[in-house]
């Protein structure tokens, strides 16, 4: 067999990985072996967190709705649980994201809805 040197095959592969990890902190963007490990961890985290993101946002919306609804002290029912219960009873299809966004951008609308439903 003729002699074949490996040349820069490995270097080409590692350059791509290095580019991916280029903004990581300290040794995680400098040392070759750590770079490969960190790229794997980063991609796995991204995968897992894409599903976590959905959960996180839903919790955020619920929190926001609760905060905004809790402002009308005059009403007896100023809680997220009551609002949702009455929304299901009144057959509204609005989801939590829309209600939370409306509470921020168009506060009047949310109070109008709450007033309509909660009785």
């Amino acid at each position: 067999m003729t002699r074949i040197k490996r040349g820069y095959i490995a270097r080409k592969r590692r350059t791509k990985i290095r580019l991916f990890t280029s903004s990581f902190r300290g040794a995680h963007s400098r040392l070759t072996r750590t770079i490969t490990q960190q790229k794997i961890k980063a991609l796995v985290s991204a995968n897992r967190d894409r599903d976590r993101k959905k959960r996180g946002f839903r919790g955020l919306w619920i929190h926001r709705i609760n905060a905004i609804i809790g402002k009308n002290k005059k009403k007896q029912y100023n809680r997220y649980s009551n609002l949702l219960y009455n929304m299901y009873k009144g057959q509204l299809l609005l989801n939590r994201k829309t209600v939370a966004q409306m509470g921020i951008l168009k506060g009047n609308c949310l109070f109008m809805i709450a007033n309509e439903i909660i009785t």
Partner: protein
């Protein structure tokens, strides 16, 4: 067009480049796709800034402007014949909550949204969205239970594109299993033209709330 650009710039300076480019760009579909990244970030930030809602109604329809360019080569006549900036008869602060592709969007006339890919829709198709869950204005609200009857949102398909690439990386440690898959979700960009058909539905106004507060 010059006055239109000036008035736009007074409303919102940070977006003059985007508005100016869309004014003077060549009227081809590719011009829209090159500005897609700009308008995407703008749209994400726009959703948190209610006061800027009348900013993006200007939409020189591509076919009509090219037709005018062919018939009237002078730029002066082309500028005069451009469509008016503000849509004529919307109530102030008109918006709707519409359900498309399993997701709900808050929609203003004149703005665009990105939805899941609508199969069989071609560019410049007119679309009617019937699942309108709520229509609202500055003063009143039409709450759908679950849908506002006879309300329709008319829109035009602007572009059928793909989302940014997402790398799906499956990995099991110590078991020598790793798979790399790239994925681009197809989407459709839609420009909302008008919201109609909600006038006969029972509505709720801020006055009702104030009356109740006074009574109690």
């Amino acid at each position: 067009m010059a006055s239109a650009a000036a008035s736009l710039s007074t409303i919102c300076t940070s977006f003059t480049t985007h508005c100016a480019i869309s004014n003077y760009s060549p009227k081809t579909p590719f011009s829209q796709s090159t500005f897609f990244p700009f308008s995407r970030t703008h749209s994400l930030s726009l959703s948190f800034q209610p006061t800027l809602s009348p900013r993006l109604p200007l939409l020189p329809p591509k076919s009509s402007d090219t037709a005018q360019a062919l018939s009237d080569p002078q730029p002066a006549t082309q500028l005069v014949q451009s469509p008016p900036l503000q849509p004529p008869s919307w109530e102030p602060g008109l918006f709707a909550v519409v359900m498309v592709g399993g997701r709900q969007y808050i929609v203003h006339p004149g703005r665009w949204i990105t939805v899941q890919r609508l199969k069989g829709a071609k560019v410049n198709d007119k679309i009617a969205l019937h699942r309108v869950l709520l229509v609202g204005t500055d003063t009143s609200c039409y709450i759908g239970r679950p849908v506002v009857t006879n309300a329709v949102v008319y829109a035009t398909v602007e572009e059928q594109g793909l989302d940014d690439k997402v790398i799906v990386f499956k990995y099991k440690k110590k078991k020598k299993y790793r798979r790399t898959i790239g994925h681009r979700q197809p989407n459709t960009r839609i420009r909302i033209n008008s919201i109609m058909g909600y006038e006969n539905y029972p509505k709720v106004t801020m006055d009702d709330i104030k009356d109740e507060d006074k009574e109690s």
